[in-house]
Symmetry: C2
Subunit: 97 residues, 2 copies
């Protein structure tokens, strides 16, 4: 999933889908990129379960799936005390000393 997030275009696609679901053609519009290229990026996001695509005839509709982002959030939880001035941070510091 971090792999899927490691590309600037894919992060931009997610940001777009965070506003509303969209068709592949609409997703592609702001990018200087062919439709198949955008579709490939969407496929990477689908494999990472960050995007769901539904196909209705020729129309491919994409929507954001936030489950994996919640996982990133939970993972970050192990590090958050480093930058929030919480009691946890104080405790960790005290332990180190």
């Amino acid at each position: 999933m971090f792999q899927a997030l490691s590309d600037r275009t894919r992060r931009a696609l997610l940001a777009r889908l965070a506003r509303t679901p969209a068709k592949i053609t609409d997703l592609a519009a702001p990018f200087d990129m062919s439709l198949p290229a955008v579709s490939r990026h969407v496929r990477v996001l689908e494999r990472a379960r960050l995007v769901r695509r539904t196909v209705d005839g020729r129309v491919h509709r994409c929507s954001l799936e936030v489950g994996p982002l919640k996982t990133v959030e939970a993972w970050l939880g192990h590090y958050r005390h480093f930058w929030t001035g919480t009691l946890d941070a104080l405790a960790a510091y005290a332990e180190d000393e």
Copy 2:
């Protein structure tokens, strides 16, 4: 930076360094991996500014740098309203409707 985080071993190295700074040899100990292989992973983390390495003679000491993780945290902020039941989420929903 997401690229650097996309590897399980590298995430484990960060988790270890979140406890205390460590020498490369100590970092390598729990992994079934050669010292050069661990060192390569550390180099990827260094390039992503997630780890700082100081060299003292033959001893390479590594410490965690949390700056980039704060960046991930800030980036996630754009999506957090999807899973926290905040007024923001309600507002976004109302807008969509």
